[in-house]
């Protein structure tokens, strides 16, 4: 299975994530889509690293997974806080700041 298959998969995942980010209203779903985006990159990294045979990519992946986790945490925290004051996580209604 060639490298490009991996890259293709990653690209597809990325596209799905991007599409989700652009279309979803629900905060949680958007967070998940962002996870997709990040994991697409991770897949890339791992694929490259395994094909080129140096470990940096995998190290990088570890870093990014950790970071992604933290990010998700923060994201949920914000959403929760927002839900407390606004009683919604439908992001289309969160637009008091505009223009």
């Amino acid at each position: 299975m060639s490298l490009y298959m991996y890259l293709l998969v990653a690209a597809i995942i990325f596209t799905i994530g991007a599409y989700g980010v652009m279309t979803q209203r629900n905060g949680i779903k958007i967070l998940m889509c962002i996870e997709l985006l990040l994991n697409a990159s991770n897949l890339n990294l791992v694929a490259f690293s395994s094909f080129s045979g140096n470990a940096t990519g995998q190290v990088f992946t570890l870093f990014s997974i950790a970071i992604a986790a933290a990010e998700a945490g923060i994201g949920f925290a914000i959403l929760v806080a927002l839900f407390r004051v606004r009683d919604t996580i439908n992001l289309d209604n969160i637009n008091i700041l505009r223009w």
């Binding site: 994530g17 980010v21 991770n42 940096t56 870093f63 970071i67 990010e71 994201g75």
Partner: protein, 488 residues
């Protein structure tokens, strides 16, 4: 490996942890602000004091003039923000977390500044970003603040994902994450980067950095976030973390461009011109000063981005100078806005949109020092000499002009002309605020301006004017920093 060179980062990291601990044990937390301020000040001294260069952690980090000058910017901005926060978050229960977050954010930026490896760069970026996500939403009860945080967070993580994707592709192409190595590889076989994969990688990186720089079209989050976030945090974002994008761009993009002899002049010219024009024109029609400042900082990003159009040493030096100046001016301006908000709240406990321009009426009488510093910042932002803003624009525009002349390229000249027309146009909205402050009658009594605010403002004012009146050392620093990139 001489660890002294990393002393500032280490110091701040430890301080951040210390602050959290102190927060756990102590009841009244107002003293914490002073501690972190002192720590940042010490870090600044160290930065200025330390001479020498070096790389660390298997060349993951490198300390060089470029990184140092940006670190100075970051520390100065955080220092100003922290000093102001002493008053802003007075008697707030969560001061300890706030300050530790600011310190960690600073560290993150500093790491990004001296990153010599994509991993380090990414980590630094994310550390700073996450800290600032939280800071933006630090007023938990304030929907605006939370909304700001949310938007900032979502767009931020999307673009960091883009950046990561770009990095992964770069890694795939170059087989390494160490920036110098990447450059070498690219230089060895340019075709690699001119391949579509290379272009995509490049674009994703631009997107990732452009998000921080708030370049159009990656700017969408900026106005909302700057408006919604607590003013001191906005100061931090606009003045500090924004520059992280630039330093990253300098490190990666410029090097890549130079290495690949990629002709991205047009691309960046278009980006820069659109950005500055958009920022200025929209800024004109704002009534919320924070939002106006947000757009104006978008415009400023546009000016700075001109440095990428002609990647000469001078242009990058100009960009760095303008970044430095902008850090002071914009940071100061946001802090001044914070003070005005403080004033408004004194008038009326539950006042809505406290940064509305109406609240600036007669500020010259109500809060003379604030008004005067706003005057200085705005004139400097408009590029009126003698000020940091003028020096930055001076060098930057000069570098573009001479490129236009020596390449005899008309469209470059056009770019400069658009730039100067922009900076003339910007006067319109700066002057409007000035008019409110000094011409219109005051609708309130003269207030007592809290010492910390005043201190922060005065420092920023002095810095702004000092760079304008005695730019010699700063220009040298900028030139040295730019020389690191080995551009002509």
């Amino acid at each position: 490996m001489n660890v002294i060179l990393l002393a500032p980062e280490i110091l701040l990291t430890l301080l951040g942890l210390l602050v959290v601990l102190l927060g756990l044990v102590s009841k009244n937390k107002n003293f914490i602000g002073y501690i972190s301020a002192a720590g940042l000040f010490a870090a600044l001294i160290l930065l200025l004091g330390i001479k020498g260069q070096g790389t660390f952690f298997y060349e993951a980090l490198s300390v060089d003039p470029l990184s140092q000058i940006f670190k100075i910017i970051f520390v100065v901005v955080s220092l100003l923000a922290v000093i102001a926060s002493i008053s802003y978050f007075k008697d707030n229960r969560n001061q300890d977390e706030y300050h530790s977050l600011i310190l960690f954010a600073t560290v993150g930026m500093m790491v990004a500044a001296s990153a010599n490896d994509l991993v380090a760069l990414f980590v630094g970026f994310e550390l700073a970003s996450m800290a600032t996500y939280v800071l933006a939403g630090f007023e938990k009860k304030n929907p605006a603040s939370l909304e700001a945080a949310l938007k900032y967070f979502l767009i931020g993580s999307v673009s960091s994902a883009l950046m990561l994707f770009g990095m992964s592709l770069v890694y795939g192409l170059a087989g390494s994450t160490n920036i110098p190595v990447i450059i070498e590889v690219f230089q060895a076989n340019p075709l690699m980067a001119t391949s579509s994969l290379g272009v995509v990688a490049m674009v994703f990186l631009i997107a990732g950095f452009g998000f921080k720089m708030a370049l159009v079209p990656f700017h969408m989050w900026a106005p909302d976030t700057y408006e919604g976030a607590p003013s001191v945090v906005s100061a931090m974002l606009a003045a500090g973390s924004k520059k992280m994008g630039f330093v990253a761009a300098f490190k990666v993009l410029v090097l890549a461009l130079v290495a690949l002899r990629m002709d991205m002049q047009v691309t960046f010219a278009v980006l820069a011109v659109i950005t500055m024009t958009y920022g200025n024109i929209v800024a004109i029609s704002q009534t919320s000063i924070k939002r106006m400042l947000a757009y104006s900082s978008i415009a400023q990003a546009g000016y700075i981005a001109l440095a990428f159009v002609v990647t000469t040493q001078l242009s990058i030096a100009g960009g760095i100078l303008l970044a430095l100046g902008h850090a002071l001016m914009k940071g100061g301006a946001f802090i001044a806005v914070a003070l005005v908000g403080h004033m408004v709240l004194l008038d009326n406990k539950n006042a809505k949109n406290i940064d509305h321009i109406e609240n600036f009426a007669g500020l010259g009488k109500r809060a003379p020092i604030t008004a005067f510093s706003i005057l200085v910042f705005f004139l400097a932002l408009a590029g009126i000499p003698p000020s940091a803003g003028f020096i930055g624009k001076f060098v930057l525009f000069y570098s573009i002009t001479i490129e236009a002349v020596s390449q005899a390229s008309g469209w470059l000249l056009l770019v400069v002309i658009i730039a100067i027309l922009n900076s003339a146009l910007s006067i319109y909205y700066y002057a409007r605020v000035i008019r409110y402050m000094y011409v219109l009658p005051a609708n309130g009594v003269k207030i007592h301006e809290p010492a910390p605010y005043v201190l922060a403002l005065v420092l920023a004012v002095i810095g702004t004017i000092l760079i304008g009146v005695y730019p010699e050392p700063f220009i040298r620093m900028a030139l040295d920093a730019a020389s690191v990139l080995g551009v002509r």
